[in-house]
Amino acid sequence: MELLTIAISAMLVNNFILSKFLGICPFLGVSKKVETATGMTMAVAFVMTLASIMTYFIQVAVLEPLGLEFLQTIAFILIIASLVQFVEMFIKKASPTLYEALGVYLPLITTNCAVLGLTLLNIQEKFNLLETIVHGVFAAIGFGLAIILFAGIRERLALADVPESLEGFPIALITAGLMSIAFLGFAGLV
C-alpha cells in the first residue's frame, strides 16, 4: 500500500515536470514530436532508475558513515554524470539498436535536474531501497506522461491557427501552464 502511494504520488500528484517543475529544459526542448519525446522518456527512465539505486548505495555506504550528508548534491552530480557516461558506453557495445533508439538523448540527461532532484528527494523522504526504485520508475513514467502529452498537443498546435504574436514558444509556455493547472486536479488523490 505504501508503495502504491509512492507510485501514484510520483507519477501524478507530484509530477516532476508539472508540479515540481524539474526537467523543464527537455520538456520544452525535445517536445516538438511525439517520437523524440518518447525517446527522451526512455532514456530518462533508464537513467533515473539506475541513478536512484547508485545514489542510495553511496548515501548509505559512504556519505552517512562519514557524516558528509551535506555533500549530497555534488556527490550525486558526480555519480549521475559518470553513470550516464558508463551506460552510454555499455549500450553502444551491448545493444547498438537501443543505442540508436536513445540517440542523443542519453548524453543530454547527464546533468538533468529531474534526475538529481529525484535522487535528493529519495534521501529526503528516507526511502528504503525498494521504495527508492519504485519512486524512480514512477517518477520517470510521470515525466514521460507529461512530455508525451505535451508533444502531442504541440504537434497539433503546429497546424493550428495561432495568433502571430503567440506562435512558437509563447503558445507552448501557455500550454504548459494549462497542463500544470490540470495536473493540480490530482492534488487530493494521496
Binding site: 553511496i58 559512504v62 558526480l78 559518470s82 557516461q85 558508463f86
Partner: protein, 325 residues
C-alpha cells in the same frame, strides 16, 4: 578542524578517482571499433547531405565507400578534389571525374520567344505546364517560373528575362533541377565546354522560326561547318558531341539564328614559339582552316584572323612549339 576539511576532500576526490578510472577502464572494455576510414571520408565530403550520390546523406555515403558499395568518385558535388582525397584514404587510384554542370538549353527570353497566352496562375513551372503546356509558344522552351530555382540547394540558378540560367561556378551537379524541370530543358554539359546549342525545340524549322528568333531551325549549316564532325542531328535539333568538340566556335559563328551559344571571350589563338619551331609543316597540314603558313625548314606563322583556336596544331606539333593563348 583539519579533519573536517580533509574528509570531504579525500572522500569526494576518492569517489571522483574511482569513477574516473572506472570510466577509463570501461571505455577500453566497451570500445566499439569504428572503421577510422569512415570518419576520414566523412570529413573529406562536402557535407551538404543533398543525396545526389544516391545515399541518404554524407554519412551513409562514407559508409558505403568503406564497404565497397559506393564508388570513390560517387560524390558529384565534391567533384574531382573529393574523389581524389577519398581515393587517398582508401588507398586506390580514382579515375578523375570530368566536372559537369547543369545548363538550361533554351534562349527563349521574353524578347526572343513569343507567348501563346497570358498565364496568371501559380508561379510554378509544373503547374503552368499543365495548362496547354505552358504559356510559351514553343512547347520545348523554358517557362522561367523558377521551379528549378526553388529546388537548387546551392543558389546556382537565377531567372533572367523569363528563362532560368545556371551559374556553372556554383553548380555542383546534384541534379535536383533536372528532376524538377517539367520541360526537360536542363541538360548536362561539361564545365569546360564553351560552345552549347541553346535550343531544345524538336519542331520543323518553319515552326521554330515563327515562335522564337533564336531557335534551331535545323538548317545543318553547323554540321557542314564543324571541322571535327562534332555536330550531330537528332529530332531536327543540332546536338554537340562533347567528346569530339574542341571549342573552336565555328558553328556558333555560322549559325544563322544564333541558336548556338559560344563564349568568344574564351576563344584562343595559336601562337608559334619561334625558337622551338623546326619547320616540319605538320601543323600546317593538320590545320582545318589553313591558318598556318608553313614552308619547309622555316619558322611557321599563324594567321590570327583565320585561326579558330581549335588546338589541333598544338596537339600535333612534335616539338611543342605551338601554344594556345
Amino acid at each position: 578542524m583539519i579533519e573536517s576539511i580533509l574528509l570531504p576532500v579525500v572522500s569526494l576526490g576518492g569517489l571522483g578517482l574511482i569513477f574516473g578510472s572506472g570510466l577509463a577502464v570501461a571505455s577500453r572494455v566497451f570500445a566499439v571499433e569504428v572503421d577510422p576510414k569512415v570518419e576520414k571520408i566523412r570529413s573529406a565530403l562536402p557535407g551538404a547531405n543533398c543525396g545526389a550520390c544516391g545515399y541518404p546523406g554524407c554519412d551513409a555515403f562514407a559508409n558505403g565507400v568503406v564497404l565497397g558499395e559506393a564508388p570513390a568518385n560517387g560524390c558529384p558535388v565534391g567533384g574531382a578534389d573529393t574523389a581524389e582525397r577519398i581515393g587517398e584514404i582508401m588507398g586506390s587510384e580514382v579515375g578523375a571525374v570530368e566536372r559537369k554542370v547543369a545548363r538550361v538549353i533554351c534562349n527563349g527570353t521574353t524578347c526572343n520567344a513569343t507567348e501563346k497566352f497570358e498565364y496568371n496562375g501559380i508561379k510554378d513551372c509544373k503547374a503552368a505546364a499543365l495548362v496547354q503546356g505552358g504559356s510559351k509558344s514553343c512547347q520545348y522552351g523554358c517557362l522561367g517560373l523558377g521551379t528549378c530555382y526553388d529546388v537548387c540547394p546551392f543558389d546556382a540558378i537565377t531567372i533572367e528575362d523569363g528563362i532560368a540560367h545556371v551559374d556553372p561556378d556554383k553548380c555542383t551537379a546534384c541534379g535536383n533541377c533536372l528532376d524538377a524541370c517539367p520541360k526537360n530543358v536542363i541538360e548536362w554539359a561539361p564545365y569546360e565546354q564553351k560552345v552549347v546549342v541553346d535550343c531544345n525545340s524538336k519542331e520543323f524549322g518553319k515552326d521554330v522560326k515563327v515562335k522564337c528568333t533564336t531557335g534551331c531551325i535545323g538548317c545543318q549549316i553547323c554540321v557542314k561547318a564543324c571541322p571535327f564532325d562534332a555536330m550531330e542531328f537528332e529530332d531536327k535539333l543540332a546536338k554537340i558531341n562533347y567528346d569530339k568538340c574542341t571549342n573552336c566556335m565555328v558553328c556558333a559563328e555560322k549559325c544563322p539564328t544564333n541558336a548556338i551559344w559560344a563564349d568568344f571571350s574564351e576563344r584562343k589563338t595559336a601562337e608559334v614559339i619561334e625558337d622551338k619551331c623546326i619547320g616540319c609543316t605538320i601543323c600546317a597540314k593538320k590545320c582545318p582552316v589553313d591558318a598556318i603558313d608553313g614552308e619547309l625548314k622555316k619558322v611557321h606563322e599563324v594567321d590570327p584572323d583565320k585561326c579558330i583556336g581549335c588546338g589541333v596544331c598544338e596537339e600535333k606539333c612534335p616539338k611543342d612549339a605551338i601554344i594556345m593563348k
